[in-house]
């Protein structure tokens, strides 16, 4: 990992990898969406609305994954003083917040015809909403503290403290009796979802992950550029 610590080398690799990642993302989205919208059968109870799940489930996975990435990057920043770790955590947060919002919004759209309500306060929905608040709080910290070094130190703690919510989200459907259905794709005793629906879901999950990777690399790239610009401005104002 240490050899990627150098921002210049990171930028070189990111610039080469990005076009490839974008191409893969588009191909996987095309395959996944074809499977989701064309070949997957409508559910015998939910009808065509089940297709919302193909947007909803990967978005929720990614919302949790991105927070985990943020917390890991923050831990790396504390332990190894890795110069890119703070950049990685900072630029992941808005992307994760959007995924989280997407999961909440599509879940709400699905909930209205299925449960008869836009929103219910069960454990899974509430903990997901809390995740959104944690993203907002994390972003707000970066906005509120002007000195970047100090903002980074405070933001690391916020990310790590909030990580406690991730296992709560994952197991909320097991610990409480929720209206939200229990885990059905990733289970110890095998998936309970038919293959015709599962494969588009998994392909879309992969596509979302690659989309995140692409957006994250681009966002990190512009964050590095913003920091360079800042340093140049400080240097110039020192000369004048």
């Amino acid at each position: 990992m240490q050899q990627f610590a150098n921002p210049t080398r990171f930028l070189a690799i990111a610039n080469k990898a990005l076009p490839l990642i974008w191409v893969l993302t588009i191909i996987l989205f095309a395959i996944g969406l074809y499977g989701a919208l064309v070949t997957a059968p409508p559910d015998y109870q939910q009808g065509e609305t089940v297709r919302i799940m193909f947007v909803h489930v990967p978005a929720a996975w990614l919302a949790m994954l991105v927070y985990t990435v943020m917390a890991l990057a923050s831990a790396v920043a504390i332990i190894f003083r890795h110069p890119l770790a703070d950049v990685a955590a900072k630029s992941a947060a808005p992307i994760g917040a959007v995924f989280c919002f997407l999961a909440l919004a599509t879940g709400s759209l699905w909930g209205k015809p299925m449960w008869g309500a836009w929103w219910v306060w069960d454990a899974r929905l509430t903990s997901m909403f809390v995740l959104f608040l944690l993203y907002v709080g994390y972003i707000a910290i970066w906005q509120a503290i002007e000195e970047p070094g100090r903002a980074a130190m405070i933001a690391r703690i916020v990310a790590l403290v909030g990580f406690i919510n991730i296992p709560v989200i994952k197991f909320s459907v097991d610990w409480w009796n929720t209206l939200h259905q229990p885990a059905s794709v990733l289970r110890m005793d095998g998936s309970t979802i038919d293959w015709s629906i599962r494969w588009p879901l998994l392909v879309l999950g992969l596509a979302y992950t690659l989309l995140f990777l692409a957006l994250h690399l681009m966002s990190m790239r512009s964050e590095i550029a913003a920091r360079k610009l800042r340093n140049l401005q400080i240097a110039r104002s020192g000369e004048a």
Partner: protein, 219 residues
Amino acid sequence: MTLLAALLRRDLILAARQGGGAGTALGFFLAVLVLLPIGIGPDQATLQRLAPGILWITLLLSVLLSADRIFQQDFEDGSLEVMAMAPPSLELVALTKAVAHWLSTSLPLSIAAPFLGILLNLRTEVIWPLALAMILGSFALSLLASIGASLTLNIRRGGLLISILVLPLYVPILVFGMSATTGNPEMINPSLLILAAITLASFVLAPIAAAAALRAYLK
């Protein structure tokens, strides 16, 4: 240990003599309790059903509003730097100050709240579970508030930011605090045990997070 005891005494005396301690928090608590029945309507049955929730949320808000007192003044007049250089580790200092906040604000409120519930027609049989749950939970509330206070130590208008950062962490306390007081009587014991577990976990973890944040500001 004697240094920490002295710090605890100092903070308690400051809270008692400066105002802004238990008295003001209690005043805020009462003001909210007066406003809510006006907003909801004076129907006795409705108030009885909502009473535990109203009391819990008012408690959370009162603790949050007083949270910035935990470190701010000491940071501004420089005494926090002296504490950071003193022999006890900053983690223990943060813990002591959170305990002082609990003893001066959260604990008196959580003892008074169930009895103020009488104003809301609170059912008498839930007064004891509610009091126990609040006393257990209020310590966790103070500890988590100390994390928020340290994170927003030197931010102008940090009060709103504290709420965004800390309220998500308060959700579990509210959930189990409520399940100890509404719901069926079988849930009282497990809920109290989980509340105790949350309090113990934040007893260990909150001072570490708070001290790390304080170090970032003291640099």
